[in-house]
Amino acid sequence: MRALILGLVFLAVSVWAQPILIGFQGPLTGSWAVEGDWALKSVQIAVEIVNARGGILGRPIQLVVEDDGGTPKGGTLAAQKLIAAGVKFVVGTYGSMVCMPSSELYEEEGVLHINYGCTRVDLSARGFKYYFRTSGRDDSQARFFVEYVIPLFGAKRIAVMHDNTAYALGVAEDVLRFMKPLLDAGKLQLVYYDAIMPGERDYTPALTALRDANPDIWYYTGYYPEWALLLRQGKDLGLDWKKIKAVGSNACPISEAVKIAGIDAVMGAMITQEPLPAFLVEKYTLAKEFVTSYEAKYGPIHDSPWATYAADAIFTLAFAIEATKSLDPVVVARYLRSGAVVGEGITGPLSFSPEGDRLGVPYMLLICNEKGESALFDPAVHGHLVGM
């Protein structure tokens, strides 16, 4: 039976293999051009994988790419451009404030929109029918930090630092929210809470204040360029990551930090992280295929979870359309909202809440080992690096 269907499908392909248009919206210019570049490459690899397997419903996917420059205004224009191109399914974008006005347009036009790099909690609280995200939310990471990382090291004196960007501030506030009962009960102490300015180059003042606060653990919720500088300048100031456990957010890929700050400064620093493809290859077959194809085409796999989620957004669409046998966004969206596991992507099972949030986003704690590589934190192997 299956063979018959496949045969029919192939026949159909040969007769009218009209491609299915899928839109991609991302920051290809502007300050976040790096993320846009990675995401686009990942999405292209995902499309190649799907197409190599015969496409969706026997039709190949064709990507329609639009740049939003990482600004809200650029986002609306890119969205309009995609809508005008007749796209019914869109993967995008990076940055919650860019996503917000674009997703409204998609919602109005009934375009199914899968978000890959926006973790603001209230994005999914708008009652939208066509909005989904393959990434987690800000508070999933904060919950992980408070409920897993802090007890792991038995830390009591907590320092939280952000950089005032939408993302970092959100994580920091969620950490405070989850810690509140523990703080009120006197089990934990918040000894430092402040912001640094991104783009600034000199953080010695903030680090001096941090040193004086004498925390057990220091959580930095911002992005890697600043985190790397903080680690470097902290090291130069004489801060010891065995005494103060340095934990960065998921926006702080260790490989990038090592490049900027050097191994000696980053060694022993940890990050809370959505699963990265490099750590998933053992676990999921699609991850292995994705990483192999990516590295064959573009060189070493990136460290961006967001770009990985972007690829998973393509797979989500492929699975869901295939499962519903429908190209109608209404049908596909209804199916996605049902909470069913639509398939196994690069980052594991893909399923969504009725609000459109990804269900069950796993987190992990990575550490920079002696060779300057990221490794899954294992107390037995890495304990000496963090003074455990």
Binding site: D67, T71, P72, L77, Q80, M97, M100, A166
Partner: protein, 328 residues
């Protein structure tokens, strides 16, 4: 300048001007009915930047005050709308005049002590002002501005029971504003106030010696320009339904500066043309996404090389030839 001289004067004859104006209006009115939603949205942004450009044109073009912080007033208008609408539930459209008022009022407060500064010193102070406003918005004073997250959930404007929501609605909203402002500014240009602004631009000391109250008129220009930016802020906030500080960067102020000079200082049609170019250029060059700003930079320099007076400068010498100055 040589190139400008070759411009045939019949272009400026009154019937030709009227015909041209009528054709432009017809084009603007009919455009959304044959263009796609995307191009309507592009048209909206042309209108928005035209509004911002017209505001800056009063300050920079008419009076010659170097203002490289105009985005600050845009931000003030947008945030006024956002905060008052989200917190107090005041209808977005009702906030249109209020946003202009707040932006203008703040401009008056801020510019009073600095208005006497000359040329480049005023320029740096306005840059500083733009940065201060943006940083204050980011730092979220009293939890009002939402910090880097901005303010979300702005209600759609309602005009006589009609909800303004589609690109088409916004297109007409913004261009109605542009038309209104362009008309009012044209009237001002031909009045003693507009002339006095130009006297100040040409020679401040002579203007003052000829009885022009330089300080008050400069302040008036600043307030008026900021108020127009406030209007633009309201419309922008309504369109986006959210505001965040990253929309109001120094780069935006620079773009507005370029709009005025590309079009021609003190030229209303020029400013609108400048806005069209600044918005359209990156859109037309979308296929080369990564390089579009590179070309944009080159184009700015090239325009100034070939047409230093702007693309559509104001031609005073022929404006009067319609015989309006009666022989005594």
């Amino acid at each position: 300048m040589r190139l400008l001289g070759k411009r045939p004067t019949w272009l400026y004859k009154q019937p030709v001007r009227w015909a041209f104006l009528a054709a432009t209006i017809a084009l603007l009115l009919s455009f959304p009915f044959w263009a796609s939603r995307y191009w309507i949205d592009v048209g909206f942004y042309v209108g928005l930047y035209a509004l911002l450009g017209l505001g800056l044109n009063v300050i920079l073009g008419e009076v010659g005050l170097f203002n490289l912080g105009h985005a600050a007033f845009w931000a003030l208008g947008a945030y006024t709308t956002a905060i008052l609408n989200v917190r107090l539930g005041i209808p977005t459209l009702a906030l249109l005049p209020l946003s202009a008022l707040v932006a203008g009022g703040c401009a008056w407060l801020i510019s009073s002590p600095i208005i006497h500064l000359r040329g480049d010193y005023l320029c740096i102070v306005t840059i500083a002002l733009g940065e201060i406003v943006r940083l204050v918005l980011i730092n979220n004073p009293a939890g009002l501005t939402g910090g880097p997250n901005g303010v979300i959930g702005i209600a759609r404007p309602v005009f006589l029971g009609h909800v303004i929501r589609t690109p088409l609605d916004f297109y007409f909203l913004v261009w109605a504003m542009v038309a209104l402002c362009a008309f009012a500014l044209r009237q001002l240009q031909r009045s003693r106030i507009g002339r006095a602004w130009n006297y100040i631009r040409e020679d401040e000391i002579a203007a003052e010696a000829m009885g022009v109250d330089v300080r008050s008129l400069k302040l008036l220009a600043f307030v008026l320009g900021a108020a127009l930016a406030g209007l633009a802020g309201n419309i922008f906030a309504a369109k986006m339904r959210m505001v965040s500080p990253d929309s109001f960067t120094f780069m935006e102020s620079c773009l507005m500066f370029c709009i005025v000079l590309l079009g021609g200082m003190g030229s209303i049609p020029g400013t609108i043309l400048g806005a069209a170019l600044v918005v359209l250029f990156p859109e037309i060059f979308r296929p080369v996404a990564q390089y579009r700003l590179l070309f944009f930079g080159l184009a700015l320099a090239a325009t100034m090389y070939f047409r230093p007076g702007g693309l559509w400068p104001r031609r005073r010498a022929v404006e009067f030839t319609a015989g309006r100055a009666a022989r005594p």
